[in-house]
C-alpha cells in the first residue's frame, strides 16, 4: 500500500520533471485597448496607412469598422483606397508571389494574426506589441533591419520614422563554465523618431488593440452577451435544482 502511494506521488511529479523551459525574447504585456474606441480607431488608421499595403486582412470588410464607432462616410473618406468598395474585403494588390520575391516570404494575412500568434510565452497581442517595438538596425539583413521576437524577419521596420532607429547592444558574459555568451543587453537609440518612447509605445498598443479587435470583431458582444446568458442560466439552475428536489422528496 505504502509503495503504491509512493508510486502515485512519483507519477504526479513526473510531468514537472519532464518540463523544459522554452527560450526566447521575453514578451512585454500589451495594454488592453479593445474596449477603448478612440484607441482602436487610431490603431485602424495606423493599420490602413502602414500595414495594408503589403499585408491583407482578407476576412475583414471595411464597413465592419462601423463597429468601432466610425461612420460609413468617415470610412470612405479616410480609410478606403479609391478603388475599394466600402463593403469590400481588405485585400491588397500585391500577390503572394511578389511578396515572396521581394521579402523572402509572403507577408501573412493579418485578419486573425492576433489569435494566431498566441503561445505559451504570451498572448498574440503581447507578441505583436513586443514585435513592433524590438526592430533594430542590422546591416547584415537585406532590409537593414532585424527583430528580437522574430529573428531574421523579412519585414522591414515600417514605423522607423515614428520610433527612430535603434541599435541592439550586446555584452559578452562568462557563464559558470567559463564559456563566453553573447547576450542582448539593451537598445540604443541612434536616431530619434517623430514620437517619444511613450508616444510610440502607445501608438503600437493602439495598433495591437485594433489587430486584436479585428481578430474577432464580435468579442465585445460576446462578453456582453455572455454575462446575461450566465445570469439567466444561474437562475435556471436554481429553479431546476428546486424542481428536482421537490420531486425527489417523494422518494424514500
Amino acid at each position: 500500500m505504502n509503495l503504491l502511494k509512493k508510486l502515485i506521488a512519483l507519477l504526479t511529479l513526473l510531468p514537472a520533471l519532464a518540463l523544459a523551459s522554452e527560450e526566447g525574447y521575453p514578451l512585454d504585456h500589451a495594454p488592453e485597448r479593445t474596449k477603448d474606441l478612440a484607441a482602436v480607431q487610431h490603431g485602424a488608421k495606423l493599420f490602413v496607412n502602414y500595414c495594408l499595403n503589403c499585408h491583407s486582412a482578407s476576412s475583414m470588410r471595411y464597413n465592419r469598422l462601423r463597429d468601432i464607432g466610425l461612420t460609413e462616410d468617415q470610412i470612405k473618406a479616410n480609410l478606403l483606397f479609391t478603388t475599394d468598395k466600402v463593403g469590400g474585403l481588405m485585400t491588397v494588390a500585391m500577390t503572394p508571389k511578389d511578396g515572396k520575391e521581394w521579402f523572402g516570404a509572403a507577408p501573412p494575412d493579418l485578419s486573425v494574426i492576433a489569435r494566431a500568434k498566441s503561445s505559451e510565452s504570451g498572448t498574440g497581442p503581447d507578441w505583436l506589441y513586443t514585435y513592433m517595438r524590438t526592430f533594430y538596425k542590422d546591416d547584415s539583413r537585406p532590409t537593414g533591419w532585424n527583430n528580437m521576437v522574430f529573428p531574421n524577419v523579412g519585414m522591414p521596420h515600417v514605423f522607423w520614422e515614428l520610433q527612430g532607429t535603434q541599435n541592439a547592444v550586446y555584452t559578452d558574459e562568462k557563464d559558470a563554465e567559463g564559456k563566453v555568451e553573447h547576450k542582448f543587453d539593451h537598445f540604443e537609440m541612434i536616431k530619434a523618431g517623430k514620437l517619444s518612447k511613450l508616444e510610440y509605445d502607445t501608438s503600437v498598443a493602439d495598433l495591437v488593440g485594433y489587430l486584436e479587435w479585428m481578430g474577432e470583431p464580435t468579442q465585445g458582444l460576446r462578453h456582453q452577451l455572455g454575462g446575461w446568458v450566465l445570469m439567466f442560466l444561474g437562475v435556471l439552475v436554481f429553479l431546476t435544482w428546486r424542481l428536482n428536489a421537490s420531486y425527489w422528496k417523494e422518494i424514500k
Binding site: I8, A18, S58, S119, L225, T240, I251
Partner: protein, 468 residues
Amino acid sequence: MAFVEKKLPADAPIAAKALNWVDSRFPLTKLWNDQWGQYYAPKNFNFWYIFGSLAMLVLVLQIVTGIFLVMHYKPDATLAFASVETTIMRDVPWGWLVRYMHSTGASAFFIIIYLHMTRGLMYGSYRKPRELIWLFGVGIFLCLMGEAFFGYLLPWGQMSYWGAQVIVNLFGAIPFIGPDLSLWIRGDYVVSDATLNRFFSFHVIAIPLVLLGLVAAHLIALHEVGSSNPDGIEVKDHLGPDGHPLDSIPSHPYYSVHDIFGVTVFLLVFSAIIFFAPEMGGYFLEYNNFIPADSLKTPPHIAPVWYFTPYYSILRATTSQFVYALMAGVVAYVGLIVFKTKLSSLIKTAVMVGGAVALVALDVFEAKFFGVVLMGVSVMILAALPWLDQSPVKSIRYRPSWHKLVYIVFGIAFLILGYLGIKPPTDARTQVAQVCTFIYFGFFMLMPWWSAMGTFKPVPTRVTFHAH
C-alpha cells in the same frame, strides 16, 4: 385480422383522439413508455450517472449547429479557411456563436464521454448482462474519434492540415500496403482538396449515420436489460407487487427533472467557455489553426487536439529501443498465460504461437508500425473489458481498497500520457511516456488476475439510498 381501432368516447379531448389515432398505427405511447416514461431505473444513481443524458444533449447540439455550419462552409481547399473566418465568424449573423458552440461542443463531447466511461469503469457497468451496451458504447467512442479527426481538417488551418497529414501518414507504416493505403485515404500525394472533400463527406454524413445507429442500439440494449447502479447489484432481483423492481423509480418524472437540472448546470459551464474562453487557452481552438493551411510550411510542433493526446503519446513512446521492452512484455505475458492459467493446452499452444509470431514481427518490422498498432490497440482494448474483468463484484465500492489505487494509478498514467502528447518530445518525456504506456496496457492485460485478487467486501442485497 381486420384492423380494429380502439374506440374513445365521443366527448374525449381532441388530443386524446389524435394520440389514439397514431397509437393504432404506430406504437408511439408504447415506445415512450418502454424507453423513458415507464422505464424503471435504480433510485440510487449519483453524480456520475448524468453524463449519458448530457452526451445525448451534446450530440443533438453538434448535429443542429453542424447543419447551420454546413449552410455556409465551403469544402474547397481555396475557400475553406475564408468560409470559416470571413463568412461564418463575421458575415453570417450569429455565425460566430454557432461555430463556437460546435468547436466547444467537440471538446465537451469528449469530456462527457470520458467521464461516462469512467463511471462504467468504476461501477462495472460493462459486466454481464450489459456487455453489448458497452460494445455499442465503444463503437460510439470510435465514431466520435472519427468525427473529431475528420472534422478537424475542415477549418483548413495549419494544425488541421498537418495533423491530418501526420495521422494519414501513420497508415504508411503498415508493412507492404502502407504507402498505397495512405495514398488511397488522402486521394493525393499530400493532404489536398481531394482529402478535404472526402473528410467533409465522412464528417457530415457517413459517420453521423453510423453514430446515430449505434446510439439507438446503445439505448435499446440499455432499456432492455435495465440500468446498473453504483452498488453494482441487480435491482430486478427484488420485484414489488406491481412487477417493477422495488429499488427502481420511473424515469419520468424523477430522472427527467434530475437530468434537466444536470443539463442547466452543464449549459452554465458550457456557456461560460463559449462566451468567455472559446479557445480555452489553445486547447479547444489551437492558435496555429488561425493560420491558413500551407503545404510548404511544416509547423515546428504538431500536436493533436487534447482528447487524442494519450493515444498519440503511446504512438510516440514506441521507439526502436522500446521494441525490446515490448518483446520482454510479450514473453512475460505468454509465460503468465502458459503457467498461471487453467486454459486448455490447445489455447496455450495458440498463445505461444501467437507470441512467437509477435516476437518475429517486432524484430522484422519498424518501430513506427508498432506505434500505430499500440495506438490502435490502446483504444480497441476497451472492447475486451467485460471479459477481462474477473472480479466477483461489479462496483468499486465492494472491491478491496487497493483496487482503488490500481484505478487511480491507471487514471494518472492516462492523464500523464495526455499531457505528454501535447508537449514536444524530449528523451525524459519519452521515457515517462514509455512507463505510462506499460501501466496503461498492464492495467487491462493483467486485469484477469488482479481484478480477482484480494478480499472483497460483502455486497448488499438492496441498493444504498439516502432520501434527499
